[in-house]
Symmetry: C2
Subunit: 444 residues, 2 copies
């Protein structure tokens, strides 16, 4: 027993080491690593990998290994692996499956990867309404032996495979043996259409705290079930995409260390160039105020401070709003409430920064005497512009996502460059306009 | 039957309407809405809400409603509700539970909300190793009737409640009836310690594609199970926190429309003020180059363009690296690979922007004659600084998260202000240094 424990710990350490090193190993090294594991450890390890990694391994291994691994995967995962493989390998991978699975997987491949149909598992547990509870349990034991993958919920179907109701496993198990399935089933079942987008589907899971949702066609025939464990991956993936879009780039298609260098540079260069071209308008805007800058160079000193404050408040507001939209907390029709709230927030935030800036300039002047005779007027100019720039940034950052969504663009990917350019350019205009109003006759 | 379908559709519409309006309803209006639903619809609706909303409703409803709702919740959810309620209401809510649940919930409340112990459900399915498969199924039917919540995996325990192994429900169901549980159980079970953080736990789920993980104490006694459906919420929550931190603010504690105005302004003002104080260094840096700006005002025109390019490339790089860290794809020891990769990426990206900027200035000059006699030198200055600023921004953005993590700070929340300030200030220094090198003797 003590020996067993020591051995178990050693095996677990080996497994952890492999997991640690995994991201930096080549497909060949990964195959070697898997050979150090027992058969059942290797199988479980394989099941935990992403579809992309599974595809790489299956293609790198011997044909016999490839066949046994492909047959290990449930149909929805097998379909994902085939979708991750290069075009010319797909037929070959499909051919590794046994006949009934081959058919199921081919049917799944017809769906887009990101739709409910592409996520679902066609092997779900089914019952007939007129079975007794005891008959139902026996029937399930037969299904489990043959082809069942998951038994969260049991779907009650009529002779045409149309959905009549649902019974949770626990309910069937706990029910008196002589009741019929119809007696204990719920008829108000939440379903998803085949073409529902995976993001909408993940919201459905979050709103209803369900473990599985059946995917049905227009006639309410069950095509498969999507289970919550697939949704965890979807949620993680969508959040990563959103975060990368907020960071001002196109979403990468894989983990950072595994994406090719030039592919990554292309994805990043695209957005940086768009942002750069947009930001060129700042040079044009500055050009309009060249005369003012020449007369009062001190104005130029605060340009970076002013525009970065506008940019920061804008990106704060757009991040908040876009994330709330992605979570389904905000919809288009909330726009007016958001505008009023953000207008107030922008004024409050602008006032905070304006006070800090005002005090800073006067304190610096009294210590270092850097801003000349008109330091009070300069402090007023900076403070006044900050209120305007921060309010404008906050408003622009919070309303642009609504405008972009209304126009049919993805708010997450399009907002960052628009907000940045709009806020920087108008920040400059606000700043120099306030300066001309306050400083005309003195510095200007 | 046709009537049933029409009625079912109508009920579903009512439910959807309530769901739609939910975020803007007061607790009293929500109670009224729930009364329009059937008892079982209302129960399911309640189970789909967040713990915060459940707590509000239970406190707003009559004592009888509160009692029946609290008793509807599984122990881990009941504990969450109590944690969301105001301090002075917690004893009262706990008292609504029946005696055995009261004990379970009180034990859960001792754990931090974000730990494995705070997420787990103490009601899991258990087996003894020497039962036959048929005895195991009968034993489970008894557990299901009494107190079971979920039956994904069945945990095999010895007499001291120590974990010996695990059997999936499907395996038990599909096994020959005369085998013993010991014959079919797996002994290499992945477990989580009670105090494991929820973010680490969610990575464990993602890496191993499991439906549930048992939480054990130091003696390997099972304290409860964490199920994947709780992890979906965790993943969503952590992603929202990270996104809000990227957006340059402290994470909000609830949905955008539900968080109080002043609380939200405080969370946002804090970071904006920190960023603002950091950005004041740009005014100091600009001050050092006041003489150069006075001599060649044209230099000031490109300041916003230069520093925003540095800022954009820096935030791109830090977003990528921080997200990859959060997903466990990057660890501290990868820092050197990241530095080399980002140095190369920064140079490539800088070259792209430099070429665009160079061409833009020469084209504008030939059309509008805005930059004077030395436009070629100005174009060279801008292009040269862009390579420097973008490379520096990319390097700073990708390495600072590692430095912050090494020093024990949260990279997601601390990187944005550091990167922004560092990149803006050094961007100005790079720009004016390049200008002095190239333009001395001509413009300067």
């Amino acid at each position: 027993m003590a020996l067993d424990v020591a051995e178990a710990r050693e095996r677990r350490l080996l497994l952890e080491e492999l997991q640690e090193a995994w991201p930096v190993l080549s497909p060949e090294e990964r195959l070697e690593g898997l050979e150090l594991l027992t058969h059942s450890e290797a199988e479980r390890f394989l099941l935990g990998l992403s579809a992309r990694e599974q595809a790489e391994l299956i293609l790198a291994g011997s044909p016999a290994e490839g066949r046994s691994w492909m047959r290990l995967l449930p149909p929805d995962d097998a379909a994902d692996v085939i979708q991750e493989a290069p075009e010319e390998e797909r037929e070959g991978l499909l051919a590794l499956l046994d006949e009934p699975t081959h058919k199921e997987v081919a049917a799944l491949l017809a769906y887009a990867e990101d739709d409910a149909g592409g996520l679902m598992n066609p092997r779900y547990a089914r019952l007939r309404p007129d079975m007794s509870v005891d008959e139902g349990i026996t029937y399930l034991r037969r299904q489990a032996r043959e082809r069942l993958e998951t038994i969260y919920y049991l779907y009650v179907l009529d002779a045409e495979q149309r959905l009549l109701g649902v019974v949770s496993f626990r309910e069937l198990f706990a029910a008196p043996p002589d009741k019929t399935v119809r007696d204990i089933m719920h008829t108000d079942v939440l379903t998803a259409p085949e073409e529902m987008d995976q993001e909408a589907l993940s919201r459905l899971f979050a709103e209803h705290n369900l473990l599985a949702i059946p995917v049905v066609d227009a006639e309410r025939r069950v095509k498969g079930i999507v289970t919550v464990d697939d949704i965890v991956d979807v949620v993680q993936e969508e959040a990563t995409e959103d975060i990368q879009k907020f960071g001002g780039m196109a979403a990468l298609e894989g983990p950072y260390l595994e994406v090719g260098f030039w592919q990554m540079v292309r994805k990043r260069a695209g957005w940086l160039a768009i942002l750069f071209v947009g930001e060129m308008l700042t040079a044009t805007a500055m050009g309009y105020f060249e005369r003012e800058i020449a007369r009062a160079v001190v104005l130029a000193l605060f340009v970076p401070l002013i525009i970065s404050s506008g940019g920061n408040s804008g990106s704060q507001a757009s991040t908040l709003v876009i994330r709330a939209m992605a979570l389904g907390e905000l919809r288009l029709r909330h726009w007016w409430r958001v505008v009023r709230r953000e207008l107030a927030a922008g004024l409050a935030l602008g006032a905070v920064l304006a006070s800090i800036g005002f005090v800073r300039i006067l304190v610096w002047e009294s210590i270092f005497h850097v801003y000349g005779d008109h330091s009070l007027l300069i402090a007023l100019t900076v403070a006044g512009s900050l209120v305007g720039v921060v309010t404008f940034g906050t408003l622009a950052g919070s309303t642009l996502p609504f405008v972009l969504q209304k126009l049919g663009f993805d708010p997450a990917s399009a907002s960052a460059p628009f907000v940045a350019t709009l806020v920087d350019v108008s920040g400059l205009v606000i700043y120099f306009t306030v300066a001309i109003l306050i400083l005309s006759g003195t510095l200007l």
